[in-house]
Amino acid sequence: MAISRRNLLRGAGGVAAAAALAACGSNTGRSGSGKSLSQWYHQYGEAGTQQAAEKFAKAYKDANVTIQWIPGEYDQKLNSSLLTDDGPDVFEGHFNAQMAKSNQVVPLDDIIADVKSDFSEIDIASNTYNGKLYGIRMIDDPQLFIYRKSMLDKAGIKPPTTFDELIAAAKALTTKDVKGLFLGNDDAVDWAANQMLASTGQRFLTPDKKVGFNSDKTVAALIKVKELVDAKVTLTGAPTNWWDPSAFNQGLCAMSRQGMWAIPGIKQAIGDDFGVFPSPAFDGGTQAIYLGGWTTFVSAKSKNVEAAKKFVRWLWIDQTAYQEEWSLNYGFHIPPRKSIAAKATKLQSGQAAETLKFTQQFGWVDDPNWTEAMKTAMKDMCSNVFLKGADPRAELATAVGKVENELKTLVG
């Protein structure tokens, strides 16, 4: 095991060279002159979106903006990178109070002040915490139900407006090859955890930050959804989940949970043989449309907070042509700026126009105080009731307990 000095040096040289190469590899392009900003997007499904994002970044002259297009588990990757100094300067995401409370994002009131009234009020509210606005909404994504006109016509059924009608329609539309309704591959769990309460006329949290759903109405709604799940008229285990319209396009189901983004794709696949309707109302409740979407933020850990804010102002406030392109040229989204939405001709006809009309009537948005841990509590409740057959009242009590516990740490 004797090694000559020369060989040893050669070996050490190799290690040093490798180390030097490794150092090159970790160059993130932030060094050098001029301001550099990194901007993160999750991977959008629609073709052309990544090229558009890169085009926008390139057109910005005051800083060198690099795009990170993140496939897979976007939220988890974002969360862990926001803990470090190497995270993004500008990123898209979903706001919750925890982000503001733990100083992950900076307030953006100053860059939006002169045009704030042009943004939809509920979008502003859903990104506000303690009176400060933390995010600029990029797109609004209404979630609703779609149905095959021909199948409903054949069965003599009108689009359901109540949950009882939805169950009846799903039963009537189920045949050997077609299921009546597709809520998702987890059956109703994710849908109900997010959207059921709004259709009972309740909210997750009251304006004074208390639990807003500890009621018999919630229990009754849970029992109703369980009835739907047990009827075996829902599609589950499809190759793709609800947000991809493939299962609907292939005729595996007659009605489906869907988002407005999918409308161009459905139209291309099956023409005009489809319509839209809002989430049906539970007893004593109301029809509802969940208005999801994406919002852009500036990281508090950014080394160039001012430059990042300037870029956000430029892209998501000043460049109205780009905002319109982002909302309407790939999938369909509602532009959050009223002036742009009003000009959007693509949203003025057909199913898109219907969706827009329903959204204005029934739309609701996320509550910034509704955190991930609370969402998990709701999903566990729904999973336990619908799939494991647990007692709805006891499960509701557990979920309420968990949410109250979270509220204590959040509100203090």
């Binding site: 969360n79 982000m99 987890d186 499809a238 841990a373 999903k379 494991k388």
Partner: protein, 297 residues
């Protein structure tokens, strides 16, 4: 001269070992220590916390709730998957060992799935074999016998979701453990069998029970240990097969992933990780005591 040689050997040692030790330190030991520290702090959305909370995170995780449920579920899972893996991989090893032709072929054929990634296998299981619609492979086959379509991944009563979960794990890991057993089998001296025949033993169950099994003890203990640890560390196929909102079979690691990376509560996540580590260590030590791992043959 001798001193110089010794010194150069030390240098060589560090040259080869150093990078790995450094890597271990930076990527394994520092994070473990950090996580240990975090577990005693309120670390919501930060990994440099300042509020010391003592054992609160541990209490929170061990209270009745999802994490404790997942520990129970996975003790049951381990109780099934460990004996099943041992029995099947040993059976396969014995069969392959007996072959007089094409042994290498069968050995490779059984081993190949080990090289497949858990994620890829999960996607195949989820999208083509066990999807819930009429053209899923399992449903097509069952359909021939007049069985209605089964929604494999979310049916809790009966718990069909275990069928894809257990089969994908067996398919992926049996070949590897079979190779371990094959190696063990090849080490058993032929003389032992010959001597037993002279003493009147009949080939088959009698020699298997009294010669093969005892001779394979160390291999068996190692396989039990590895499969047990793997069972508690299960993540990939559960994460990829089960719909994310559904909590039918969430592994302890998934619960930690949710706590730390989705809810950003790094304190609770770390406390859970420490509990899990402690459990695996205890199980290993206990097993060493009972089965005599590391004892000389």
């Amino acid at each position: 001269m001798r001193r110089r040689k010794a010194r150069s050997e030390t240098l060589t040692f560090w040259l080869f070992v150093g990078p790995f030790v450094a890597g271990m330190l930076v990527f394994v030991y520092v994070p473990i220590l950090w996580s240990f520290t975090l577990s005693f702090f309120e670390a919501q959305s930060t990994v440099t916390p300042s509020v010391f909370v003592g054992l609160d995170n541990y209490v929170e995780m061990l209270k009745s709730g999802p994490f404790r449920d997942s520990l129970v579920t996975f003790t049951v899972f381990a109780a099934f998957i460990v004996p099943l893996t041992v029995a099947l991989s040993l059976g396969m090893a014995v069969l392959v060992h007996r072959l007089s032709f094409a042994r290498a072929f069968f050995r490779s054929a059984f081993f190949i799935p080990t090289a497949c990634s858990y994620v890829v296998a999960s996607l195949i299981w989820k999208m083509s074999i066990f999807n819930g619609v009429r053209f899923g492979l399992a449903n097509v086959v069952l359909g021939l016998f007049g069985v209605e379509n089964i929604s494999w991944l979310i049916t809790a009563d009966p718990p069909w979701y275990w069928v894809p979960l257990v089969t994908v794990r067996l398919w992926l890991q049996l070949g590897f453990y079979m190779i371990l057993f094959l190696a063990g089998l090849q080490r058993i001296p032929e003389e032992l069998y010959e001597a037993s025949y002279v003493d009147g033993a009949s080939p088959g169950w009698q020699t298997f029970r009294h010669i093969t099994l005892p001779q394979l003890r160390t291999t068996t203990v190692a396989v039990v240990l590895l499969t047990l640890i793997a069972a508690y560390q299960a993540f990939d196929e559960f994460y990829n097969l089960m719909p994310s909102a559904v909590n039918l079979a969430r592994t302890p690691l998934q619960e930690l992933y949710l706590a730390a990376l989705s809810q950003q509560d790094y304190g609770r996540g770390s406390a859970g990780a420490m509990i899990l580590t402690l459990l695996i260590m205890l199980a290993t030590l206990l097993q060493g005591r009972v089965l005599g791992f590391g004892r000389k043959d």
